[in-house]
Amino acid sequence: MDKNSNSYVVLFAVVVCVVCSAALSVTFNGLSDLIKANQKFDIQKNVLKACRLWDPVNEADKPREELEQLYATRIEQMLIDRKTAEPLTGKSDAELAKIRKAQSKINKFTERDYLDVYTAKDASGKVVAYCLPTYAYGLWSWLSGFIALGPDVDEVLGITYYDDGETPGLGGEVNNLGWQETWRGKKIFDDSGELVSIKVVKGGASPDVPEHVAHGVDGLSGATITGDGVTRDLKDNLTAYLPYLERLR
């Protein structure tokens, strides 16, 4: 067969594609359970990190089993009704998974019926943090993260972004632990009890502006749009949680 005839070229291309896709499917199927388990553990780690039950900087060497054990004993995950803030009870795990899947297709938290909440307890069983999932659209992609509030439901304990498709070194710096640390101690409500959320301030939060001291964090250089997305969507997320937060306060 002539190597440059059209039919040979088409045939060759088809064979290459089929062989390559077959190889990829086999690899993916073989590894998908491991990858899913890794992703699940990564989310658990980030909840623990946001709630300050685990410090990745100073205790990075904790074995996986220990962290999974910590998560299982200290963290409780539940679904709440967005409008009434009532926890959803009496559902089987399979039903809950189905609801979560359906809800995850709605990007705006304010349009969802049910929202996820994680509560963290200390060793004596006292609630030390409320951890809320947060999603923000940056420049290229959705950022997934958690924001943990202290027992007063006002002060930020920790924030974490564990998944993003932003430019590494610019918007991708949302996963920089040093930057995430600057969120600690900021407040989401103002003195009159109004939700103001946290603002990522381009050019840096100024110590002279009272609003920045309580509710502002430094923006990331070269990541203005990512920062703006975080500011906008975090407020939107927290607004959706408002009935629940008000109830706790």
């Binding site: 440059n4 070229v9 060759f12 190889a23 990829l24 690899t27 993916f28 992703q39 498709g165 590494p168």
Partner: protein
């Protein structure tokens, strides 16, 4: 009849090519120094700058590139007589991107944290000029064994430069190597007044990698005597 025809040597198969002949040696050793893909051809710079902040992820990146480059060279070399020349680049890219996807899945399954640190740079091996360059320039014209050695040589030539840069950056930038403290904590400055040691923050940023790479290329070219043609 001549003696040569009668001689039994003619009836026998061709003398076996040596496993490590002169050409094979050159295929491996040339890219390590004389034709180094980074220092001389200045290819693969993007990932060399991006993944060299710490040695750990750098080693994973190097292993990934070594695997992809060797495997893609062997596959392309095996197919070289079958690939129609007008779609050869597409075929090579299909092979390379499949291999990179496999590497990425394996990293996700077994080294999740490192794969998160490497973020897009594993996927970007697809566009690393060294990989496509070796497939087009070498594997299309040589047998699988020699192509494998050429891939190995080029990948290791790429890897040692990355590792050298990463060691300097991690020690200089955070005082650590493979996350272990190298510079004694007692040396560190404790405050503004204290004249102790301070980590060099430049090393953690991309410009630090640029400077280091520039110095490395300069030194390498100084020793190997390479100059750009006018």
């Amino acid at each position: 009849m001549t003696a040569t025809v009668d001689s039994p040597a003619v009836a026998q198969p061709k003398p076996k090519k040596p496993l490590f002949g002169k050409k094979e040696k050159r295929a491996v050793l040339d890219p390590l120094w004389d034709h180094n893909p980074i220092a001389l051809q200045v290819l693969g710079i993007c990932s060399a700058l991006a993944v060299t902040v710490k040695l750990g992820p750098t080693l994973a990146m190097c292993a990934a590139v070594i695997f992809v480059l060797c495997a893609s060279n062997v596959v392309v070399s095996l197919l070289r007589r079958m690939i129609p020349s007008n779609i050869r680049i597409i075929v090579m890219l299909t092979v390379i991107s499949s291999l990179v996807t496999v590497v990425s899945l394996v990293l996700n399954a077994f080294m999740y944290d490192i794969s998160k640190q490497l973020s897009v740079f594993i996927a970007l091996i697809v566009t690393n000029c060294i990989v496509l360059g070796r497939a087009e320039a070498f594997a299309m014209a040589n047998g699988p064994w020699r192509s494998f050695l050429d891939g190995l040589g080029n990948a290791v030539g790429y890897a040692w430069i990355l590792i050298a840069v990463a060691i300097v950056r991690e020690v200089g930038g955070s005082g650590k190597l493979l996350d272990m403290q190298i510079i004694p904590a007692a040396w560190y400055s404790t405050g503004v007044q204290d004249p102790g040691y301070i980590n060099n923050g430049l090393m953690l940023l991309a410009p630090g990698a640029f400077l280091l790479l520039g110095i490395l290329v300069w030194v390498q070219r100084g020793i190997s005597g390479y100059t750009e043609e006018n």
